[in-house]
Amino acid sequence: MYTAKVMDHFTNPRNVGEIPDADGIGTEGNPTCGDVMQIFIKVKDDRIIDVKFKTFGCGAAIAVSSMITELVKGKTIDEALAISKETVANELGGLPAQKMHCSNLGADALKKAIEDYRSKKK
């Protein structure tokens, strides 16, 4: 059902945890119907220098979370905002069709974390 890449990120997820003094936190999803993803970012000079996640959900949701943290680390805010759901799914070698909608929450959670960071900066 899942690609080897998905299974790798699911069984050995990268960047699990929280950042206590995060500059931005984004949460997406709902546990009553599917998955919930929470992303923490630390930003310096407009660049994401650290990122961590916590996820409630299936194998795909956890793999997506792990993958997006790898993709954004070291990126500028604008580069991070350019990452789409499709990018994440492609980097994982594809996701099952029924998981694309409910488990592919990484890009949305990341956007929320960036919005949170920007609103705090103002």
Partner: protein, 399 residues
């Protein structure tokens, strides 16, 4: 790595003795049971022998057994066949929310065809209260169908009591005994059922073989029209090897039932006891009135599919009723109907043991399972609780 198959409600391996009984009917005794020459007669004899073996398992007459391709077909057949046969008497059918999809979706088909269907609620253990069945009966009711035992939560329903009510009111009573037959004693006379479904692969028989018991004298409309097989009630050239396999499996299940049950119950109780030491984990289904090989739980703050996959990576095979693990992405209707919250239903996990399960298997599970839970909880934003409710009802994790 140790391999522990704890998904016996999904299916079972074939018993070697069943396999051996089946093999002559693929290439040697391959005849069509309807053929008049000796090859046909041999196949016919094999089917009738199997019919007797299946009948003996549920204490019916051989002539009351109709072979089908699966438990699902037997369920479709019973619901449609009786509702249609008696539609001149009334168009109300009663089922419960504990039923398998093959009952629920057959009931929905009947609704579309102009019948009225009552889907009965259940209590927190998944029990269909006989009193509630009684109250839901109308002058129009012709059929009641309640599962014998739930493969999802293990609960065994009060079939005998419901059967008594149905008989009093002159209503036909069907039970889906797919999870029960071959695993616990099932006696159609004692239960007072008019129809009963079963599936061979639930008791070490082959897939593709099921049966419907139809009480003598009861008229049923066929699901499949065609030739005169099964007395004209189920057309199609018989799957002779599978039917032979079902018969042999039924015979073995009957002979070995007491021993299998005793062993399963011992191991299941050890499993439940061991797992109950983990924090925030709850047994689902009835604590006593449950299938002897069945242990089902909800684990708080994590999701079932993730648990399944991590367990599978350790060689432990289980099942889950979580939304993510279902193809429809919907949480188990059975758990929701028992009042389990949709958050908690996501953490559903089901272990069903078999005759090959050992004490060492349980020890291995009890060593690995807590680690899987710990790992996923470390990843979960809800490890400290379900948080506060947001504007759209979502759970906002606590910081």
């Amino acid at each position: 790595m140790r391999k522990c198959y704890f998904d016996h409600v999904a299916t079972n391996p074939l018993d070697r003795r069943v396999f051996d009984a089946m093999t002559p009917y693929f290439m040697e005794a391959f005849g069509n049971p309807l053929s008049l020459y000796d090859l046909g007669a041999k196949a016919k004899e094999a089917i009738e022998n199997a019919r007797g073996q299946v009948a003996a398992l549920i204490n019916s007459k051989a002539s009351e057994i109709i072979f089908t391709s699966s438990g699902a077909e037997a369920n479709n057949f019973a619901l449609r066949g009786i509702a249609l046969a008696r539609q001149h008497e009334g168009k109300h059918v009663i089922v419960s929310k504990m039923e398998h999809h093959s009952i629920l979706n057959s009931a929905r088909f009947l609704e579309k065809a102009g019948f009225v269907v009552t889907f009965l609620p259940v209590d927190k253990h998944g029990i269909v209260e006989p009193e509630i069945v009684k109250k839901s009966i109308t002058k129009e009711t012709t059929l009641i169908s309640i599962t014998h035992a739930s493969s999802e939560v293990g609960t065994i329903e009060p079939i005998k009591e419901i059967g008594r009510i149905a008989k009093e009111k002159g209503i036909i009573f069907h039970t889906d005994a797919v999870a029960a037959a071959g695993n616990i004693p099932v006696d159609v006379k004692e239960l007072g059922v008019d129809l009963l479904s079963m599936a061979a692969h639930q008791f070490y028989g082959p897939k593709g073989a099921g049966a419907l018991y139809v009480r003598e004298g009861l008229r049923i409309v066929p699901l499949i029209y065609g030739g005169i097989q099964e007395n004209g009630r189920r057309a199609g050239t018989e799957n002779v090897p599978a039917i032979v396999g079902m018969g042999k499996a039924a015979e073995l299940a009957k002979d070995e039932m007491a021993a299998r049950m005793e062993q399963s119950k011992k191991l299941r109780d050890k499993l439940i006891k061991g797992v109950s030491g983990i924090e925030n984990i709850y047994l689902t289904g009835h604590p006593e009135n449950r299938l002897p090989a069945h242990a089902s739980f909800t684990v708080e703050f994590i999701e079932g599919e993730a648990m399944l996959l991590l367990l599978a990576a350790k060689g432990i095979y289980a099942a889950s009723g979580s939304a993510c693990s279902s193809k429809a992405l919907k949480a188990s209707p059975v758990l929701l109907s028992m009042g389990v919250s949709s958050n908690l239903a996501q953490g559903s996990i089901v272990f069903s043991l078999g005759k090959g399960s050992t004490e060492e298997d349980i020890d291995y599970l009890l060593a690995e399972f807590p680690q899987v839970i710990k790992r996923l909880r470390e990843m979960s934003p809800y490890a400290k609780g379900w948080g506060t409710k947001g504007e759209s009802g979502e759970c906002i994790p606590q910081k």
